[in-house]
Amino acid sequence: MKNFFAKNGPIISTYFLIAIGFWIIFLIIIPQLYMLDLSFRPNLPPLLRGGEEDVYTLTHYKHFLFGSETSKDAYNYVDLKVFFTTLATAVVITILSLCFCYPIAFYIAKIAEHKTARLMIVSLIVPFWINELLRAFALRILFAGEGVINNALINAGLMDNAINFIGQDVALFTGLTYAYLLLMMFPLYNSLESLDTNQLEAAKDLGSSTLRTHWRVVIPHAKAGIASGSTMVFMLTAGALATPVVLSSPNTFWFTQLIYQWFNMNDNWSRGAAYSVLLLLVSVIFVLLMMKLFRVKVGEIVK
């Protein structure tokens, strides 16, 4: 601490401490602790809060697992299904995003001329000036039953009946992959950019095919970027709300929509809090497990 002050001077040091302290304490720790606390309390009308009935309980977590007391099912199949579908879909989206971004990021980082690379980066960023909700609606217009794509294909005589892009969740997958594309692209680009181009040439000179060079040289080098991008895309996708609301089929329900319902429509904040805590906890555990599986350290992600 003394060193920190000596190195940065009193003004900058104090600013850092206050800014970071405020961020961590007021924007992360306090709200999350409040949520955690709320999730263990019964859902009571305002007048009864703090009264005799306001005691810690596991009722919301039980509800997530076993459903309401009046339900005949052994487990809360509906919510559990939504929960695991959301996680599984987020995994698929993350993989899609990675597959989509890797070649582009590699091209920008290692192959494109300086000018082309800059143009490509700009054209990647500019669409994201449009807000997430608008982008989702734009995709809806493209994919709707009488939307741009269907109309174009039918008018061109390529097919007779419209494809149900939204019902098949094509629109949802596209929208989610697109929504967090940059969060995969930039960590990937950063780590690929730092690869010494001579390594690629050395591998080639030693007779390696392009595929093997990527497998043995490029991907190991970019591992931290891949991990960092994948973690972010997974977390944000699992926690997305706007895109699923606009683009998911009537049968597909995103877990965040469930949380939203408990908070807003059912006015059951403590159950909403419990569901949020569950989503956060399981997502974090899942990410840590994946990192262990692929032998990535947390420190590497921020490299």
Binding site: D196, N198, K204, D205, L206, S208, S209, R216
Partner: protein, 370 residues
């Protein structure tokens, strides 16, 4: 197996800029051949052309008599050692060395055995399991050599691989490289801007400037019988005197440089070139710093001139004297440290001499810039 490499009229241009212009050279089988030149002279371009990373705009590369046009670097019988070595940092030393075998589908045991064998060749036995970053600079150098030799290339290409090492290690690696080349017996093509490196290791040297080859010769010939003013001034230290020819025949040239009459003898090898000289022609006479001596009564050398002493520089085994002639020509001469020169003081005028055999007369041309 070893192969010869022939460059036939190679030109490489990027728009109007010619990185190499009409380069032709025949590199013999099993030879240690160097391209020597200042940075930007096109030597790296030539190396990349031989290895297949660049296709020449004109001309062709023949390796072992086979035309290499359209054949990629992964299909040529060459291996390249990069300036920064380009070892794979996330692989072990053994995996680095046997990467080319892995690519070709050799079994794990096979790869391991070959890696050990090559580690032996470069004196790194038992270091196969280490990571690249655990090795010292010189050891990494040797791993790069071993990796390049693993596929048994017919030609090994080296792009200034010693430039990152400190002086002592560099000198040690020079002799090691030479020894390895002798042992494996394949053609080595070496790129460097360091004439010391080129002269100590090579069988023959091509001196390059601005995309062209100025001279291809043995190291000694390049040093003692330079063919162009560039070679004379780039390889080693040299003192140029501009002037013109006053008389010449087959065996000697007389020139007049700033009022000094000098004579240069022409050795057998240079007769043909000397015939190109004519009376009245502008020339540059070169004489090496170690060939100039301080004139005394015993001196029997034909050529003498006087100059004012500016400074003396101590260089360990030598002392360098820097002088200026009356016409403003800078002259440098080197005397062995044993020689007694304590009595000399800056500002004094000295009489200097050099023999006609040690002088080289060349038609006027561009000098190397320091």
């Amino acid at each position: 197996m070893s192969a010869d490499v022939e460059l036939q009229n190679i030109s490489i241009n990027f728009g109007d800029f010619y990185a190499a212009k009409d380069v032709s050279v025949m590199i013999k089988k099993g030879e240690f051949f160097s391209f020597l030149g200042p940075s930007g002279c096109g030597k790296t371009t030539i190396l990349r052309t031989i290895s297949g990373f660049l296709e020449p705009s004109q001309g062709q590369v023949l390796i072992g008599g086979a035309n290499m046009s359209g054949i990629g670097p992964n299909k040529r019988p060459t291996s390249l050692i990069f300036q920064n070595l380009a070892l794979f940092p996330l692989m072990s030393v053994a995996d680095n060395i046997s990467f080319s075998l892995e690519v070709r589908g050799h079994s794990k045991a096979d790869r391991r055995a070959r890696a050990e064998e090559l580690l032996g060749l470069v004196a790194l036995e038992g270091q196969g399991d280490k990571k690249v970053h655990e090795l010292s600079g010189g050891q990494r150098q040797r791993v790069a050599i071993a990796r390049a030799l693993a596929i048994e290339p017919e030609v090994l290409l080296l792009d200034e691989p010693l430039s990152a090492l400190d002086l002592k290690l560099r000198q040690k690696m020079r002799s090691e490289l030479r020894a390895i080349q002798k042992r494996v017996g394949i053609t080595f093509i070496y790129i460097t801007h360091d004439q010391g490196e080129a002269l100590t290791m090579s069988d023959r040297v091509a001196v390059m400037n601005e995309g062209r080859i100025e001279q291809v010769d043995t190291c000694q010939a390049v040093y003692e019988q330079p063919k162009t003013p560039f070679v004379a001034s780039f390889v080693g230290e040299n003192n140029p005197f501009s002037g013109e020819v006053t008389a010449c025949n087959d065996s000697r040239v007389e020139v007049l440089c700033d009022g000094n009459k000098f004579v240069a003898e022409i050795s057998g090898n240079d007769r043909q070139d000397a015939q190109k000289l004519a009376v009245g022609q502008k020339i540059i006479l070169f004489v090496r710093p170690e060939s100039i001596s301080i004139k005394n009564n015993r001196s029997k050398t034909q050529n003498s001139f006087s100059a004012q002493l500016d400074s003396i520089e101590f260089e360990g085994h030598l002392q360098n004297l820097f002088l200026t002639t009356a016409s403003g020509n800078k002259v440098r001469l080197s005397v062995p440290n044993a020689e007694e020169i304590d009595h000399l003081t800056a500002g004094q005028t000295m009489n200097l001499a050099f023999s006609a055999q040690k002088a080289v007369v060349l038609p006027e041309g561009n000098l190397a810039v320091d």
